[in-house]
Symmetry: C2
Subunit: 252 residues, 2 copies
């Protein structure tokens, strides 16, 4: 399978590397920044390009992994290809690729950091394609990377992307606020790490709705008041404490 | 080391079992409910009691693991003991035990579920004691269970307890809201689990402040607006989305 990788950010980098390691050929890497294209191309044994007009028209799969608002501009240069063109965005409809004969979506529901390696067997891949044949091809590509394959239409993918903000971005923000709270008192964030790990592990086996704990869940007003008092000098944290405690009570 | 366990809830159960498995003797288990006392006593080879007057006065360590507001009542029955009396509460000052000669705190900063076993090597133990001698004894006991031992005074322990609400209870609530969002659209929560795991793993190696991602972190207004629109029929979730996105922007 010959693949052209369009983009050189976190998602592009992790995907291109994973494909290279799993019997697929990255033949080109495009980035508007030649140095970034060169870096990823070097790591995957591909050709680096920074002009969209140089895109090889005979690949099997074109992976568009760029910022959401850059996708449309890129599609203009892919109108003539026969291969399957997919974007990798959670929040973008498949529709934006409708000017291309064979198109679809290849959305990895995972958080990527450029520095940290990720094992794709833990990356759910959400697929969508404009024909059954293209879906089959996309599944073949996906199976090279992960056993976690889901067919998800554009509407449901948007919901997953939104849910991911709660399950990942907001969760990390909670970690961050807890970091602020302990560091302000000269305590090391390290002491909270086992608790963070255990909380995530619990959600692997149980449904979060069934394992909610803490002062708000048991309506322990004494403790809630004590905590609000401790947050008096940081009204911003106090407000979040109140709103989330109320939300927990409402969701009981 | 002879230990009396006062309480039979989650914390009492996990601690008593862990001590039994690590060369300490649970000699008695007290619970106001005789059946609960009997269950935990059976599992730890201890004597079950449900009358505080029957507490053995010659143990080395008394672990009070009951609801916060029941601690004071229990201390009345422990005035005569020579051993070290500790409570296990994050939100309660050591002071409440000041009527007892040898006293301290043994606070596990972790989330416990009655059904799930927990390996104590992942449980940070926060210790406080009224004398250096008692601290040494408490450290000896703690080392039987975990390598994660911290000396933490009452003021800092309260801060840790508060931070734990953010890092565990609020985090689980975020998981729960993401569960609501996907289930409403007929999607399985399972698909979010790898993302949850990876987010927690990231916080094991990096500081959360350094790895915040998502639309609010990159100030991607387009996506934020789309998400708020998707939440239009659930104003409660929409409000939380807004407040946390604003908070992420402020914390940049």
């Amino acid at each position: 399978m010959k693949i052209v990788c369009i983009g050189s950010g976190n998602v592009a980098t992790h995907m291109a590397k994973a494909f290279t390691e799993n019997e697929a050929d990255i033949i080109q890497v495009w980035s508007k920044d030649p140095a970034n294209a060169a870096t990823l191309a070097f790591e995957t044994g591909a050709q680096a390009i920074s002009d969209l007009k140089e895109i090889n028209l005979n690949a099997d799969l074109y992976l568009i992994a760029v910022k959401d608002d850059a996708i449309t501009k890129i599609t203009r240069f892919l109108k003539g290809v026969n291969g399957l063109v997919v974007h990798t965005s959670g929040a973008t409809e498949m529709e934006v690729l409708s000017g291309i004969k064979n198109h679809g979506v290849f959305y990895p529901l995972q958080t990527f950091s450029k520095a940290e390696p990720i094992d794709f067997i833990h990356v759910p891949l959400c697929l969508e394609a404009n024909t059954e044949e293209n879906m089959s091809l996309l599944q073949l590509a996906a199976m090279k990377l992960s056993p976690l394959i889901y067919e998800v239409n554009s509407e449901k993918r948007k919901i997953l992307h939104l849910a991911g903000v709660f399950a990942c971005n907001f969760v990390n923000h909670m970690y961050r606020l807890s970091q602020q709270i302990v560091e302000k008192q000269g305590l090391d964030f390290e002491i909270l790490r086992p608790l963070i790990m255990e909380t995530a592990l619990k959600a692997q086996n149980a449904l979060p709705a069934d394992v909610q704990t803490g002062p708000a869940a048991r309506n322990d007003r004494q403790t809630i008041l004590k905590h609000e008092e401790l947050l008096q000098k940081t009204p911003h944290l106090q407000e979040i404490y109140r709103i989330l405690s109320d939300s927990i009570k409402k969701t009981r």
